[in-house]
């Protein structure tokens, strides 16, 4: 197997051979450009071509908000298959996941890399649908397309088309392909423990009987005008009071100023405890390193070096750390080494197996690492 990341803006950069799989990360505006798409299709007509939009691309150990990052991979013994499904509304997320799984499912299926449009999707349901079709024995990772702090338009590239509401998934078949994953958030809870006093599914009206939106506005100050994007600075850690050790992180997705409510990326059961979280730069960078190390440790058992590294991190981390966000990708690079083809993007939701259980799920506010290799 070979892998190479090239700068899509530099026509002189090429792959050493005709790639089997090409993954493109670029700003939303580039994907909207038909010429850009046609050029990609023309250049990589023999490969499975997928990609998605983002506000920030990972290019080796650097970040670039404007770059076009192209990762090409060639496999010696691994078969690939591309499945594409529309995603007309968030309610269809589970069904879309199921449909993709049905297209890809095969007893030789080893892993799936999935890219979904980033708005109007229930990422948890999409993952659940995929899992229900292929089982937990298939490695599953990927992410939801991003659009920086704008939350306006996200795109998925597949079969030369540029989908605003769709999902593309590549299946990897055979016993030679290898995947290793890691994920970490390292956001720190702070302040008083609150109670979700008014909530309906993922929409929260009140925390400790105070309007939830007012709480966020108070903490964000002048940045409250950038809600919901600025809400990513303060995710919520929530837990069932009877199971205080089992905690999950919820990211703010949308607000309703008229109703004074906040909508999070997942259920917010009334009566559960909640605590604001914030990112300390060093902790977040340390978290990225931990995620990479977890994946690298696993890859160390393959007997062959991983060829490609896909680093998919949360846009919330990018918004918080600004230019210093690059430190987390440098931390990843320091772990996986400079010989590997490293590419990625800042997403609206990361998909990767949990570190402990290995069960794929939608993450919030994390750095996720997918290492790919192929054995003899």
């Amino acid at each position: 197997m070979w892998s190479k990341r090239i700068n899509g803006g530099n026509p002189t950069e090429t792959f050493p051979a005709s790639p089997d799989l090409v993954i493109v990360f670029a700003p939303t505006g580039r994907f909207a450009d038909t010429g850009f798409r046609d050029d990609l299709v023309h250049r990589y007509h023999d490969a499975f071509l997928i990609g998605c939009s983002s506000g920030t691309m990972v290019e080796d150990n650097r970040l670039d908000d404007d770059a076009v990052v192209i990762l090409g991979m060639g496999f010696a013994k691994t078969r690939l298959k591309l499945a594409v499904q529309p995603l007309p509304s968030p309610d269809c997320s589970f069904a879309t996941g199921v449909a993709l799984a049905q297209e890809l499912a095969d007893e030789t299926l080893s892993g799936i890399f999935v890219l979904s449009s980033g708005l109007n999707v229930n990422g948890s349901a999409l993952v659940a649908g995929l899992r229900s079709g292929v089982g937990d024995g298939v490695a599953l990772s990927g992410g939801l397309a991003g659009d920086g702090p704008r939350f306006a338009d996200t795109r998925v590239l597949a079969r030369g088309e540029c989908l605003s509401n769709g999902v593309a998934a590549v299946g990897f078949y055979g016993e030679h392909v290898r995947f290793a994953h890691g994920s970490a958030g390292e956001w720190q809870p702070f302040g008083p423990v609150r109670t979700i006093s008014d909530a309906n599914e993922s929409e929260v009206g009140g925390l400790d009987h105070e309007p939830a939106l007012a709480l966020y506005e108070r903490y964000l100050g002048e940045e409250a005008e950038n809600l919901p994007a600025s809400g990513l600075l303060y995710p919520l850690e929530i837990w069932d009071p009877v199971r205080p050790d089992d905690r999950v992180v919820r990211t703010l997705l949308a607000i309703d100023r008229d109703k004074g409510t906040l909508t999070f990326a997942g259920d917010m059961p009334q009566g559960w405890k909640a605590r604001l979280m914030r990112g300390i730069f060093d902790d977040l960078v340390g978290g990225a390193s931990t995620a990479a190390q977890h994946a690298a440790d696993h890859a160390g058992t393959w007997g062959v070096a991983p060829s490609a590294c896909l680093a998919i991190s949360c846009v919330g981390r990018r918004l918080l750390m600004g230019q210093r966000t690059e430190e987390e990708i440098m931390a990843v690079s320091a772990v996986v080494g400079s010989d590997i083809a490293l590419a990625g993007f800042y997403s609206y939701g990361e998909i990767a197996p949990q570190n402990v259980t290995g069960v794929p799920c939608l993450h919030n506010q994390t750095m996720t690492i997918t290492l790919i290799g192929e054995c003899e």
């Binding site: 302040g191 008083p192 903490y219 100050g221 940045e223 604001l276 914030r278 230019q323 210093r324 440098m330």
Partner: protein
């Protein structure tokens, strides 16, 4: 920008690394640096750092404010919590997993009379400070501390202690999830005392403090458990004669004081292991244990009667009562407590029937008699519902004119199996079981109704029982009988016996006067047999006095009877009261009565009591005889 900038070692801090990256980004193709770009990047970093600092400051400030508010709420909550704890009825002591005191509430300190209980003390150290535990012996103190110390660790394990100062304390332990424990201490002295008092009241008569029926049964059971082979015992039931009169005339407080005095005398009469109990009202019973012979029991009965017949001085009143006693004897191992009490009660009943101031031992025939009486009761109630009562009439004849002046109504019970039953066999039972009111009403209504058909100069005499006066509604009943039948009140004569006058005299006189105001005549029945107090005749204006048949029967053979008849007729004559003799069976008797100026007579000489249908012909026959004689 000088080239030397690019050589800055980035390792000292992340910001230096950032600067190094910014320099790289600003580097021009010729190796130089685009200063404007670099400054823009650096400026951006400054701005981001500043924003992050402001965010952090803001978050810290808000968090501090929120935590401060939460803390003040928590402090207030603690004050409230402490107030709530201190005002609990139970003492609380919280210990950590190492058994060290964490906190106590005020009530805990109060119960143990501790001025303080510093956190960190062990349970033993805390208890050793309590003066409540140390006022007893050192051994007792150690025992109380050990008991508390050793409370089981089961959830809700509880012990109860009696302290040297007399208090009863319960201590309950609950294990906490952190391995510590919470003890709840309660002073239950009052509750335990109240329970003991309640238990005493449940087994003792509140007035005399004698054992009640429950305790008597328990003592009987206890005696049976401990009985030696062949051991005998006696159960005495006794009842005070004329106690009701004391209660009614001198009032309940005096009656109650009398019962207490009776109880004292009874207790003084028996041995310590015998049991004197009050079963209710004026009923007492005595359980005599280890009886060696009947003679001993008879002796005790005599002493009881004799002792209770001695006058009592209560609240300035000189009170003379008596007692009747029933005795049941038995072998303890074959004893049935209920049967024994019942047998003694039957014997008491017999003693009272045989004339008060007596004692009787139970014999099996008493049971037969009681059974028969119970059957009779059942049958009487049925008879009343089935209209089995009839009235027969015995004519009363004016001795001088030999004409019918009236009839005496005499109840008859037509029993479907046993035929006609006379009043002597059932009226007293009716009185005892409370049926006399209903039976008396039937007789009075029927008599008035029947008499209304007779000639206007013929009266009807109806007997009244003393019991019928008790309700106080007799005048209303009489008025109703007259109204319903249309009978002229002057044709109705109500006969009462002297015993009626012995009851609640004031109430009886009031009712008699009320009846008399209706125009009804009142006569005194069976005169001469009882107390024959002239005061009765003086106290009430009777219209007629009836000379008892026992005297009439002996006229011509017994001079005493003649003297009595003469005295009565003479008394009536001088007081202007009519006289009548009952039980006249012979012409000789009639002639003597005529000679003694007795006004009228009734008896078999003239006629047995006859059904209504025969009354009319009898009147006519006598009238015809009179006209022939005239």
């Amino acid at each position: 920008m000088t080239p030397s900038m690019a050589t800055i070692d980035p390792r000292p801090s992340p910001l230096h690394q950032t600067l190094a990256r910014q320099v790289q980004r600003a580097r021009l193709p010729d190796g130089g640096v685009d200063v404007d770009r670099l400054l823009a990047l650096v400026s951006e970093t400054y701005a981001e750092t500043d924003v992050d600092r402001r965010r952090t400051d803001r978050a810290n400030r808000l968090m501090a404010e929120e935590l401060e508010e939460a803390l003040s709420k928590s402090a207030l909550q603690n004050v409230r919590f402490k107030a709530a704890l201190d005002n609990m009825n139970q003492g609380l002591a919280l210990f950590d997993p190492a058994g060290r005191l964490v906190l106590t509430n005020q009530r805990f300190l109060d119960i143990y009379r501790l001025s303080e209980a510093p956190a960190g003390l062990t349970l033993d150290q805390t208890l050793e400070r309590s003066p409540c535990l140390s006022i007893g012996t050192p051994t007792a103190q150690r025992r109380l501390i050990r008991e508390y110390h050793d409370i089981a660790s089961d959830p809700g394990a509880k012990i109860e202690q009696r302290w040297p100062d007399g208090r009863t304390i319960t201590i309950e332990r609950n294990q906490l999830v952190d391995g510590g424990f919470l003890d709840t201490v309660a002073d239950v002295t009052e509750a335990r005392n109240a329970s003991a008092q309640i238990a005493h009241l449940a087994r003792h008569d509140a007035l005399t403090d004698l054992p009640n029926r429950t305790l008597l049964h328990e003592r009987l059971a206890e005696m049976m458990r401990n009985a030696r082979r062949g051991d005998r015992c006696a159960m005495l039931c006794l009842d005070l004669d004329r106690f009701k009169l004391v209660n009614d005339t001198l009032g309940h407080p005096v009656g109650d004081a009398l019962l207490v005095a009776v109880a004292d005398r009874l207790v003084a009469l028996v041995r310590p292991h015998d049991v004197v109990a009050r079963l209710g009202g004026d009923e007492f019973s005595i359980l005599v244990q280890h009886v060696t012979s009947d003679r001993v029991v008879k002796q005790l009965c005599r002493r009881i009667i004799e002792t209770l017949t001695q006058p009592f001085e209560i609240a300035g009143h000189h009170i003379q009562i008596g007692a009747s006693v029933g005795v049941a004897m038995g072998t303890v191992e074959a004893l049935d407590p209920d049967t024994m009490l019942r047998d003694a009660d039957l014997a008491l009943y017999r003693a009272k029937r045989d004339g008060r101031g007596n004692y009787r031992f139970y014999t099996p025939d008493m049971h037969v008699f009681a059974t028969r009486r119970r059957e009779l009761e059942i049958e009487l109630r049925r008879a009343l519902n089935s209209n089995e009562f009839e009235v027969h009439y015995q004519p009363q004849i004016n001795i001088e004119t030999q004409t019918v002046v009236g009839f005496e109504a005499l109840a008859r019970w037509y029993h479907p199996e046993r035929g006609v039953i006379t009043p002597g066999e059932f009226i007293s039972v009716c009185e005892e079981i409370g049926l006399i009111g209903a039976v008396g009403e039937v007789i009075l209504m029927r008599s008035c109704h029947d008499a209304a058909c007779w000639p206007e100069n013929v009266k009807i005499a109806v007997n009244l029982s003393a019991v019928q006066f008790k309700s106080g509604t007799l005048p209303a009943l009489v008025a109703r009988a007259l109204r319903v039948s249309g009978l002229d009140p002057r044709r109705l004569e109500l006969e009462i016996t002297e015993s009626v006058m012995l009851e609640d005299t004031a109430s009886v006189i009031t009712q008699l006067k009320e009846i008399k105001r209706l125009g009804v005549l009142i006569s005194l029945d069976d005169f001469g047999t009882g107390y024959s107090s002239l005061s009765h005749i003086r106290n009430f204006p009777f219209d007629r006095v009836k000379i008892d048949q026992s005297f009439v029967r002996e006229l011509g053979t017994n001079s005493d009877s003649l003297a009595i008849v003469r005295a009565v007729t003479g008394l009536c004559s001088s007081l202007g009261i009519m006289s009548i003799a009952e039980g006249v069976e012979t012409l000789d008797q009639l002639n003597i009565l005529a000679a003694e100026k007795c006004d009228s007579a009734q008896g078999y000489y003239y006629s047995r009591p006859v059904p209504l249908a025969e009354t009319g012909p009898f009147v006519s026959r006598m009238a015809a005889l009179h006209s022939v004689a005239a």
